[in-house]
Symmetry: C2
Subunit: 339 residues, 2 copies
Amino acid sequence: MNKNELFLKALKGEVLERPPVWMMRQAGRYLPDFMRLKKKYDFFTRCQTPELATEITLMPIDQIGVDAAILFSDILVVLQAMNIPVEMREGVGPFLPTPIRTSVDLDQVIVPDIEESLGYVLDAVKMTQAELNGSVPLIGFGGSPWTLLCYAVQGQGSKTFDIAKEFCFKEEVLAHQLLQKITDTSIAYLRAKVAAGADAIQLFDSWGGLLSPEDYQKFSWPYLQQIVDALKDITPVIVFGKGCWFALPEMAKSGASALGVDWTCSARNARYLSGGQITLQGNYDPARLFSPIFQIKKDVKQMIDAFGKDRYIVNLGHGILPNIPVDHAKAFVDAVKEY
Amino acid sequence: MNKNELFLKALKGEVLERPPVWMMRQAGRYLPDFMRLKKKYDFFTRCQTPELATEITLMPIDQIGVDAAILFSDILVVLQAMNIPVEMREGVGPFLPTPIRTSVDLDQVIVPDIEESLGYVLDAVKMTQAELNGSVPLIGFGGSPWTLLCYAVQGQGSKTFDIAKEFCFKEEVLAHQLLQKITDTSIAYLRAKVAAGADAIQLFDSWGGLLSPEDYQKFSWPYLQQIVDALKDITPVIVFGKGCWFALPEMAKSGASALGVDWTCSARNARYLSGGQITLQGNYDPARLFSPIFQIKKDVKQMIDAFGKDRYIVNLGHGILPNIPVDHAKAFVDAVKEY
């Protein structure tokens, strides 16, 4: 189907000449073309307008030469669809004016009709696939229920998400009700994304690493597992938990096709913890793209040697940073192709 | 010397009836008495006035009943002494108006005379020891050179400390020069603290977990090791690296008396990674103190069972949060005493 099958083959664990490469937030602020659109349209306009989301999604394919596209969107659109308003404030980031903290708040949260509330994402998937025309596969994504709860309860970004955790630890029943509503919505949403044409799904548990291993098993993992269960027979699933090295053993048994790892977990630890069989994705420190190009190229070669060229997808350990020079991002991708 | 020797005995690995307990930031914003002083005196006035630092340090000894005192101060006073001004801005946190980013900036950074620049800390140590009068031991502390570099270069707190990392990765020689100046100052400072009467030293590597294991070995660990080497024969040293589970094997061989662990690293993983012999300290999720008291008591018992009662110091996995009810903090300490 796709001319470049490296990414999908790596997800199947096939032996390849070189690993595929893409970067989290590869359609992001380090790209001058992205910044041009950012000046003209606000964040959610870019998400909600399929033409803009498509244009942004395609940027790094031509300009950087990655082996997979990832639909430009945001994990928080799911909360918006659930009747939890989300604004994007310059210099603040996501801001939720009506955070969920009581049972009355929770009653307002709906499990929405996906076509009606998130049809624009599905349109963007279709439009992007038409434009990609089989050049590279398209990844759709969603946030983990725990990470979405963090925003829904805290009301904005936070170093500790203390209010969200206080809610979970004091109002455990309500927390699980909210997590289940988010899970049900996410399953319907991600299945619709696959039906619209996404070739794989990545689940982002950006704040899973704020939980102890025990609380992770209570508040995050069971809901991720539900989503993996609901998707694994229709599409390959990648689970990426930032700071969740401790959960790699469970994740490896989940039915996911690949696991993302961040740069604090060495290739060796990641292979050991995940049992050595599952495809891994990662894990270059995004800030390491500030290094001189010769260093980036050396590091990438060393990283592939450490993970092994098979059952491996080259990526960063988190999203690319806004101030990375474009030629450094390209050097990262080129180094993989030169392997 | 001290009436309560539990903490110092645990650092020596002696067999005890129960482990000692204290909490990072135990003299902090969750205490009403602390908030009263906070309204009257700004942050660095509290640090720089030995009477105030002493009063604050003593608060949790009487009110919460911990087994060790930790001198009220801040890791950033070292940067101030090095001619890098630090302000504390309400709602922002530390703010450094003249961050270190070039060789010209670096030339302004001095290795100061400790008596002259940080004599107020030494006075606070002496005054606190006189007031404690042998009731419990007094811990002095310092930041790791890497963590101090993060602030010195970034100029303020940050989720990623991207500017600090960019500096290290692009200006490696300058970075090492700055790290060495901070190390030299820290050694002199911490030795003076011990001479003034501190019974043990804890080193905080709050941002070590932002580095890959390889970069940790480059930019953080060698400097921490220098400090441990310079202190270990005159005082017990505790090394606490937030998010630094991957470095526990090296840390265990460093000559430190104990290692702090955060709540993402289970007791089992921590014992395994640190080789099973060294005293460990931690690791209750600070946000878990929001739980109902019966849950806190149950968790503490389970935590001691998991770490084992010997070679173990009960603590949180990071600083106590400002909104924790005092009786929850006390329940945490009581649960250890009831063990």
